[in-house]
């Protein structure tokens, strides 16, 4: 398998992604990109201090990101999904209602470390799906991966996939713990060969020091492209963690467009896992609408006057 997928040219990847930030995206293209990015956000809260009330508030924000007095509510799309811990899925389901176009994603499988017995991890996945999760974000067993037990990593993904039932699966690699681009490409193929159309691969948990980077994103979307060209199966991609500004999000979208093409510029195939990105996207959209630079506190719950 290693021979089939080939090595990653690390310097080439770095060179290529360095160019993505130089594209000039203005006016209508920028507006399109910002709205597209809003529709791709997995609005996330993954904290020990999450409460049902906070999740309910998150769901309101997911459905109506920004209300403009007297404005057209369709101007700003809904986000793709809310992303919560399994214990919060039923609260999110209650807040969003039985059928909602905003999906509920839940991290499961002993997120973020994945260091629990497989039995426990599968039970967590089933519980989340039973409570109403539309999508499950699992972490791979990095310990097994780094020990070279690739078969075991694949078996576990297959088991989780079965436990998901109809729910979509996102496989988190935690790229910062895989150390090299070659490892990221290998992990991508391990997952891609199992996944169904509508599933995703995802960079990271957002719980480590280093999160989604353009380089990791590039290696993974190139794996998705190669897999698609070989098999015709289109898998989605979700960078997560560290994407905080609208500018960053647009740069990631440039990478997607130039590597995978327009077919991936939809929230069925590309997502951003983020908590604060949405606020900056809204801020920039409001700047485009009014022509005036906006203060960040108008879009978040931060109370500080600065």
């Amino acid at each position: 398998m290693l021979d089939e997928m080939g090595p990653v040219d690390a310097v080439g990847v770095e060179e290529r992604v360095a160019k993505y930030g130089t594209r000039s995206i203005k006016k209508a293209a920028k507006l399109f990109g910002l709205k597209l990015a809003v529709s791709m956000v997995d609005l996330t809260t993954l904290e020990g201090k999450d409460t049902p009330g906070k999740v309910a508030a998150l769901c309101v924000k997911a459905r109506t990101p920004h209300e403009i007095a007297g404005g057209d509510p369709a101007q700003i799309p809904m986000v793709a999904a809310v992303c919560v811990y399994p214990a919060m899925v039923r609260h999110a389901r209650r807040a969003l209602g039985a059928s909602s176009s905003v999906k509920i994603a839940s991290v499961a499988t002993a997120f973020p470390s994945g260091q629990a017995p497989l039995r426990t991890r599968l039970a967590e996945v089933r519980a989340a799906v039973a409570d109403g999760a539309d999508e499950v974000d699992m972490v791979i067993n990095r310990g097994a991966f780094l020990a070279g037990e690739f078969g075991r990593v694949q078996d576990e993904i297959a088991a989780v996939l079965e436990a998901c039932g109809p729910a979509a699966l996102k496989v988190i690699f935690e790229t910062s713990e895989l150390e090299t681009y070659d490892n990221i490409r290998l992990a991508s193929f391990l997952a891609l060969r199992l996944l169904r159309p509508g599933d995703f691969i995802k960079t990271s948990t957002g719980k480590t020091s280093s999160n989604a980077t353009l380089g990791n994103n590039q290696v993974m979307i190139e794996a998705i492209r190669d897999h698609y060209l070989q098999t015709g199966v289109a898998i989605g991609m979700k960078p997560a963690g560290g994407i905080r500004t609208a500018k960053q999000a647009l740069t990631f979208l440039v990478a997607v467009k130039e590597t995978l093409g327009d077919a991936w510029l939809t929230n069925r195939r590309y997502r951003f896992g983020a908590s604060s990105l949405l606020n900056d996207l809204l801020r920039q959209l409001e700047k485009e609408r009014t022509g005036a630079y906006q203060a960040p506190y108008a879009f978040s719950e931060a109370t500080e006057s600065y």
Partner: protein, 289 residues
């Protein structure tokens, strides 16, 4: 051996770093005899946006410092200006050795102005805050808070003294500023940045821009993150700023450029310029059984 003269590239001081305009644009600055001095950055609305971000980032930390500490830092800034009197005086009068005496007087006034506001740092609250009599069982008191990011529009004349006279009363209470230097004579402000960098003032508390007022005033007017504007403006500019500021409910303290201001006059300094740029917060605290 003869040396080639090494001239300094003027740069603006934003967020604790010396930068050129993001646009890459500059305009030539010439001395009184018409000799070329340097290329001054022609800052754009995006530079202003970046400067406001830097000021907002520095704000909470600066406001949380004790008043006493802010006073110490302003005093230290005065010391830095004093130590660089020669360099700043030369920057005020490039190509006119005869003007150095007047320039030195302006630097002296700058030092005295900073010392003046350094002294106010831990004293203005006693005069602006109050305990208010109310006809109910409440302890009612008023304290001041900094407004946030303040925009400064410096006049053409007194390029250092006027600039510092506008900046000092803003930052003494914990505001952070984005200041646009004198348009006809921006060079001294670029040197002032070097003085600020060597003082103990945290990065981002004072951000200096150079450029054309016509290009930047519309953004100063409408940027919602700027909570107040203080400066000297023409009637036309004032009107544009008033219209732009209305949407974001921004406070304006603008003095007319048409009537000359004597920046050396001690009456331009004092408590009221500080009061102009603070918010008052009144608290009703229940007392009694």
């Amino acid at each position: 051996m003869t040396r080639l003269p090494i001239t300094k590239t003027p740069k603006v001081y934003v967020g604790g770093a010396f930068i050129r305009s993001e646009s890459g644009r500059t305009f030539p600055f010439k001395d009184a005899r018409g000799a070329f001095v340097g290329h001054i950055p022609q800052c754009t609305r995006k530079d202003l946006r970046n400067a406001v971000e830097a000021a907002a980032k520095a704000g909470p930390g600066w406001a949380r410092r004790t008043a006493y500490n802010r006073g110490q830092i302003l005093y230290r800034l005065a010391e830095m200006i004093e130590a660089r009197t020669g360099e700043l005086a030369a920057a005020l009068t490039p190509g006119q050795p005869k003007g150095v005496a007047a320039a030195t007087r302006e630097i002296g006034a700058c030092v005295d102005r900073m010392i003046h506001y350094a002294g106010w740092a831990d004293k203005y609250e006693q005069l602006l805050g109050s305990v208010n009599p109310v006809a109910a069982p409440y302890f009612n008191f008023t304290v001041t808070e900094p407004m946030g990011v303040v925009g400064i529009l410096a006049p053409a004349e007194a390029p250092l003294l006027a600039l510092l006279s506008l900046i000092a009363p803003a930052i003494v209470s914990g505001n952070t500023v984005v200041a646009l230097a004198s348009e006809p004579n921006p060079y001294p402000a670029t040197v002032l940045g070097e003085v600020l960098a060597t003082s103990d003032l945290p990065a981002g508390v004072v951000n200096l821009l150079t450029g054309f007022r016509k290009e930047l005033i519309p953004t100063f007017a409408t940027h919602a993150h700027l909570r107040a504007l203080s400066g000297v403006t023409s009637a036309e500019e004032t009107k544009a700023l008033q219209i732009g500021a209305a949407d974001s409910i921004k406070r304006l303290h603008l003095q007319p450029a048409e009537s000359p201001i004597d920046w050396y006059d001690p009456r331009v300094q004092g408590l009221y310029p500080i009061r102009n740029l603070v918010e008052f917060k009144t608290t009703w605290h229940p007392v009694g059984a």
